[in-house]
């Protein structure tokens, strides 16, 4: 499991460095890191949700499709969100509750893609005593093409 060796899995470790709801400035870009998507990472993600379509695994099959080669499932952005953000990012704050998401898909991510993320909070508000942030995220491949874009609503820990 190569990716977890490099990735800090203890989300408490940098907790004191992370912004709380009060510090988050809507519109301010978040620091992000490029991530090389591997076939292994795609296969691990597929295993976790039971994806078994050959377009993700079988190179010969994939070559004969309109995609011309292996692709990742559209929902690979679930992994990319964490892979492209640093350990002190407030998305990792323990107790962050995901309230909903919407994603639009342009082109698939592929094994070997070097993926970059442009991300920011777009809005923050209080509803029923809960502290909400609206996330705004766009993933690009190494050619600058949009892979997908999404909004997320999270409830911040307090």
């Amino acid at each position: 499991m190569g990716q977890t060796e490099r990735f800090e899995t203890d989300f408490w470790k940098h907790a004191n460095l992370r912004k709380v709801w009060d510090d988050i400035v809507p519109g301010e870009p978040r620091k992000t890191i490029p991530y090389t998507l591997t076939r292994e990472a795609i296969e691990l993600y597929c295993a976790s949700v039971g994806e078994d379509h050959p377009i993700y695994f079988d190179e010969e099959y994939a070559k004969r499709t309109i995609y011309g080669g292996l692709i990742a499932p559209p929902s690979i952005h679930i992994l990319l969100m964490f892979a492209c953000t640093p350990a002190d990012d407030w998305m990792r704050s323990p107790g962050t509750v995901n309230a909903g998401q919407s994603w639009s898909y342009n082109i698939p991510a592929r094994p070997g893609d070097v993926i970059t993320l442009q991300a920011r909070a777009l809005d923050k508000f209080i509803r029923r005593e809960r502290l909400f942030v609206v996330h705004d995220n766009v993933f690009f491949n190494q050619q600058g093409q949009v892979i997908c874009s999404g909004r997320g609503w999270t409830i911040r820990p307090q």
């Binding site: 989300f11 559209p74 994603w103």
Partner: protein
């Protein structure tokens, strides 16, 4: 037999995968998504209160629901030569180890735009007792041929 844009009707249904949730499946999702939020790992932490919410034990990632819905939509779309273009979801109830969940889609409507054809699909995810744990809507493009 795969579907075509012309043959689809409002009310047509799409069955998604039946997914048993366990501590192991949640842990695998942590490793696959790199989301190690203690909500999904730490029972002791989950005994606490989150604002006005009390979970009382670890819960499945909401995005695990999202991934299952996406799997249902893509498998359906690939077979029809169509493309999964959008998914929006809301989480309604927490999902816990021991639950079994299944997404189901229902075609709500079809629309033709200047350059393509679109199918709008309502999605729900229910647990083993029939409670709705997530809902959403998807958009699938049937490219003009």
């Amino acid at each position: 037999m795969s579907v075509t844009f012309e043959s689809l009707r409002a009310g047509d249904s799409i069955d998604g995968p039946i997914f048993p949730v366990s501590r192991e499946s949640i842990r695998l999702f942590c490793d696959a998504s790199l989301d190690y939020n203690p909500l999904h790992l730490d029972d002791e932490y989950m005994e606490g209160n989150f604002g006005k919410t009390h979970f009382g034990g670890i819960i499945m990632h909401g995005m695990n629901n999202f991934g299952l819905i996406s799997r249902m939509i893509t498998d359906w779309a690939y077979a029809a030569g169509a493309i999964h273009r959008r998914l929006e979801t809301r989480w309604i109830k927490p999902v816990r180890p021991g639950d079994t969940i299944q997404p189901v889609g229902t075609v709500r409507s079809k629309q033709t735009t200047a350059k393509s054809h679109w199918v709008l699909i309502d999605v729900t995810v229910c647990n083993q007792t029939g409670e709705k744990v997530a809902s959403g809507e998807a958009m699938v493009e049937f490219p003009a041929t």
